[in-house]
């Protein structure tokens, strides 16, 4: 039964729906965190392949990145959600919508990160590699000790930005019925005719998450930065 007792205040309703909101928030955090962590790992690998791989190896990866970056996130989510679900079901695997949501956002994140990695690595002068080689270092060592540390400093600020984009993008998962915070908000609004208040609250939660990410990013930036010209 829909509760239409208008004597209950807004805050009481929120209090009564707290488990729903907390569950939604946990899902949002889980999906975003999963997508950011996995997407970053995948993105670094793809970025390295595109930067240093031979032209045949990097072709499919470049195509992947171009396609994902060219599509609206919502379209990517729909494609992954329906196609992956269809393919997996046809081979007898049932995956929870949550996992599929993570995969969709992870793919989006990896495409963004791979471009950041490629851009940062290509900006490092080739002479840095020469200097490492002249010391007798091998390429994997040069990558680890010379190139990636410099690239990381360049990448961090836009990467933090990407992370907040993922959190914002996770709201789109509500359109494929994944019970994250946005969907919870919608459900609350459907029950109670106070859309502005509910969405404001939901918005405030997203704002808090993203502010936390940005503050964390700034702190990390300070830690890893080195004196530049």
């Amino acid at each position: 039964m829909i509760n239409i007792n208008t004597n209950i205040s807004f805050w009481e309703r929120i209090w009564n729906s707290r488990t729903m909101i907390i569950d939604g928030l946990s899902s949002t955090i889980l999906v975003s965190l999963g997508a950011i962590v996995l997407g970053t790992i995948l993105g670094v690998i793809i970025g390295l392949i595109i930067t240093y791989g031979n032209k045949y190896v990097k072709m499919p990866f470049k195509a992947f990145v171009d396609i994902v970056r060219g599509l609206p996130l919502l379209v990517t989510i729909f494609i992954i959600y329906y196609y992956l679900d269809y393919i997996l079901k046809s081979i007898g695997i049932v995956m929870s919508p949550m996992i599929i949501g993570i995969i969709a956002l992870m793919i989006f994140c990896s495409a963004q990160v791979s471009e950041l990695v490629r851009g940062a690595l290509q900006n490092i002068p080739k002479q840095q590699i020469d200097a490492g080689r002249a010391l007798g270092m091998r390429f994997p060592q040069i990558l680890k000790d010379i190139l990636l540390p410099q690239a990381l400093v360049e990448i961090l600020p836009p990467w933090v930005n990407s992370a907040t984009e993922i959190v914002k993008g996770s709201t789109l998962l509500s359109l494929v019925s994944i019970a994250e915070l946005m969907l919870v908000g919608k459900q609350l609004v459907a029950k109670h005719p106070r859309a502005l208040a509910y969405y404001s609250l939901i918005g405030l939660i997203y704002f808090t998450i993203n502010t936390a990410i940005e503050l964390g990013g700034k702190a990390l930036e300070k830690k890893i930065s080195f004196v530049k010209k």
């Binding site: 002479q127 840095q128 020469d130 002249a134 010391l135 007798g136 091998r138 010379i146 410099q150 080195f226």
Partner: protein
């Protein structure tokens, strides 16, 4: 007479269809200081980069301490060694670059230590001790904790020299080590190089500092149009100037 430390025989290198140099022959003995002079585009830097195997070359051979580096012959076919072997062979040479090429995210000390730890696999303490000693030798004992961006060009180049020397290479290659420096900073770097030359370190320098070349060299190589046009003592090259092209080239330097 002992074997030369470095033997270059009939070395040839092209970028695509463009020949950079060909038929280069050069011997460098232990403890010798050899300078390479010549107009720009004559292949000096590329020759130096070939010795350090930073460039591939199509013809001829380079022997370091009697052993051919860079390429081997397998079933009658010339083959470049794997990166692994090349990385090892590179340890016999050290290189100082025109643009210093210090690692900007590391302090002066860490710049010098990196190769000792990663390549020579020395323990941290020992690597630090050697690095401090070398930074002191180039007059930068008080700058060990500075980042490259906090150092002048001359100081950066001295860190780069310490970084190359700390690896204890058999030959040190200087690629126009003072060309990127403001004129007032050239002297401090040349003095360090001179000191190393006096200490008996074998080196090959590509340089436009003619007076310096005249003073420190045991042997001067004049490259012109992709060939080694003349090799001689500083006196033969700078005073006798037997070759018209050499005369013309040196005339431009007002010496």
């Amino acid at each position: 007479m002992t074997e030369p430390l470095l033997k270059i025989r009939n070395l040839g290198k092209s970028f695509g269809k463009v020949k950079v140099f060909e038929g280069a022959n050069l011997d460098v003995n232990e403890g010798e200081v050899v300078t390479i002079i010549g107009p720009s585009g004559s292949g000096k830097t590329t020759l130096l980069r070939c010795i350090n195997l930073l460039e591939q070359f199509e013809e001829g051979s380079i022997l370091l301490d009697g052993k051919e580096v860079g390429y081997k012959v397998e079933n009658g076919k010339r083959k470049r060694y794997s990166e692994h072997v090349i990385a090892e062979q590179r340890q016999m040479t050290g290189m100082v670059f025109q643009q210093f090429n210090l690692f900007p995210h590391m302090t002066a000390l860490k710049n010098v230590m990196l190769g000792l730890i990663r390549v020579k696999k020395l323990p941290h303490d020992e690597a630090e001790k050697i690095s401090r000693k070398w930074l002191e030798r180039v007059g930068l004992a008080d700058k060990v904790d500075n980042y490259p961006a906090q150092l002048s060009g001359g100081q950066q180049q001295r860190v780069a020299i310490a970084r190359a020397l700390a690896m204890n290479p058999r030959i040190v290659l200087f690629d126009e080590a003072t060309s990127a420096l403001d004129p007032e900073l050239v002297g401090e770097v040349l003095n360090v190089i001179k000191q190393l030359a006096n200490d008996g370190i074998t080196m090959i320098l590509v340089t436009h500092e003619m007076r310096f070349a005249y003073e420190v060299s045991d042997k001067v190589v004049f490259m012109d149009g992709g060939k080694i046009a003349a090799i001689g003592t500083p006196k033969e090259i700078f005073e006798d100037r037997a070759l018209p092209r050499l005369k013309e080239f040196l005339y431009n330097f007002n010496i």
